[in-house]
Symmetry: C2
Subunit: 339 residues, 2 copies
């Protein structure tokens, strides 16, 4: 219990610090969607409401706002740009859940499950367009280029994952390429575009892009760890999903890399065999742990996040300002989150 | 035979006139995709090649180029903007075929059939982003707004269609709303953005948007007619598809509106009943014809297209120039095409 209190306390401080920003982000999304869907089909409006206002962490818009603030941007205009990152993220989740036939998202039925695949594809397309419009019109051409590169990087990451979906011999390198594409590139773009909106210098843009990229990879590794070690009640997702879907994530890859031939064979058997995958999850966890798969992954996440924060040294003059504090606290949160 | 010669001859002249432009459009797409996919997964490149270079008519980019030229734009830069409309169109087709479980497209397996649904969704997303990027960076903020409005109108049209998918009592008004969303808004946007790129006056922009909208509706009505009356060898699509899928298109709606209670009942029976739909297609055609459903639809298409052309009167000084000629010839082609 004591440990939990120590862990959640900085999280609570962080939540208090970002609370007002998250509220503004939510308001900006409500306002914008009202305009964007004023003539739209009521079903589209209902699905967007269901799929977007679901207690999401709003990490992406928050990063855009914080990056812009750190680079000196004042005023409220940034929110209209920042929400584009949440839209693109949501569009990707809608389509991902169709692709993976995901049935739950944040503890409730996914959009495809609740409204059907067709609706999920179409609503994803709608949000996709809207996000591009916001970035193009609020952020300008340079931002749109960064944004589209990230969007296409996400598709590319999905393709690599698709190509390797049954490849139990996935290399760490390929794992990181997929993670960059699927998660980290958008976070990097978010921070970079926030900096661009503030007219930041190139070193500042690069530092924030670097921060977003490494934070994103760290974030995904922790996600992969939670899929093995998390608490389903906290995460809102079934534990062991990745293993059941034969998804090669870092803990498993790391263990397979250093396991004895015998243990490697056993671990692959548990993964290959439909029945063993169901019944042998705890055994697989024990084997991964035996070869420090979880610890190695956590170390990796920690050093990436440390690297992300270290890069912010370029903001030496701004280091004491609230946005710098919050970016560092977010980095810490990424490592300590349990959902 | 005599009739066919008369019909195809202006088409051949049109093809000769647009041939060089279509070639430039194809080249621009190849160039752009090479840049956009230089670091992409080879499978993505393969699918884009398969899905895009398939003998399409390139009507949308062509309309953008012609509109810009009519408004006085010279030079080659317009092609990079124009291809965005083909990309968005292709993205929509990829997703539509997933949604409708379409198996063929232009006489060969659809992308979802050939490469799977996941690949079709992802490639659609890729093209969607790329199209937005091109319009935002080449056309600027005003163009991007028009473009995104059209993209979201397409989603909205799909939603209305989805909502009415089993509604055999669809009104003409709803039919036209769906057609506007699914086809005509993008054609209107294409022409309008072509005009914007040329720095055209507002009346010129509006005339071209009006041209695109009406041409688009006329185009779709002809498409719906071809689905009943076309030659599968020419169209590359099975005839009677819409009826089999219980899609309410104008010929059917028009016939149901004026049919005697007895004939209406019979037509609805043929439509409602799984077996009767298969065996009773010729009978349904005869009933539609009895109430002039085909003729009324054709008249409607003809008057819309005539209206599209009439609006070009604002270009009185440019009326004798090649782009004006070609836009008029395209309007004629829309009505006479047999595939």
């Amino acid at each position: 219990m004591r440990e939990e209190t120590e862990e959640t306390s900085p999280q609570k401080r962080l939540l208090a610090a970002i609370g007002p920003e998250v509220k503004k982000i939510e308001e900006a999304m409500r306002c914008d969607l009202q305009v964007a869907t004023s003539q739209a089909d009521p079903l589209l409006v209902e699905i967007l409401e269901y799929g977007i206002f679901n207690g999401g962490k709003r990490l992406r818009p928050l990063l855009a706002v914080l990056s812009a603030r750190l680079c000196g941007l004042q005023g409220e205009k940034i929110y209209d740009l920042a929400i584009a990152f949440e839209y693109l993220h949501a569009a990707t989740l809608f389509h991902d859940d169709v692709i993976d036939r995901g049935e739950t998202r944040r503890g409730k039925p996914s959009v495809n499950k609740a409204f059907g695949e067709v609706a999920a594809i179409l609503c994803g397309d709608f949000l996709h367009s809207r996000s591009m419009f916001l970035v193009g019109s609020r952020g300008g051409s340079a931002s749109l280029e960064v944004f589209c590169r990230a969007a296409n990087g996400m598709v590319d990451g999905e393709f690599l994952q698709l190509r390797n979906s049954r490849n139990h011999n996935l290399s760490e390198e390929d794992y990181f390429t997929v993670v960059k594409g699927k998660t980290a590139l958008l976070l990097a773009a978010t921070c970079e575009i926030g900096a661009l909106a503030a007219g930041a210098s190139l070193p500042q843009q690069q530092a924030l892009s670097h921060y977003g990229l490494n934070l994103g990879i760290g974030f995904q590794i922790v996600d992969d760890l939670l899929d093995y070690l998390g608490d389903a009640k906290q995460t809102g997702k079934a534990i062991g999903n990745d293993f059941q879907e034969e998804k090669m994530t870092l803990p498993l890859i790391a263990a397979l890399t250093s396991a004895s031939p015998e243990d490697k064979k056993r671990l692959l058997f548990l993964l290959d065999n439909d029945e063993a995958r169901q019944t042998g999850f705890s055994e697989a966890c024990a084997l991964i742990d035996k070869y420090n798969g979880f610890a190695l992954s956590r170390n990796r996440a920690e050093s990436l996040v440390a690297d992300a924060v270290a890069g912010l040294a370029v903001f030496s003059e701004e280091a004491a300002l609230p946005p710098a504090h919050t970016l560092r606290a977010l980095a810490e949160y990424v490592l300590t989150r349990n959902k």
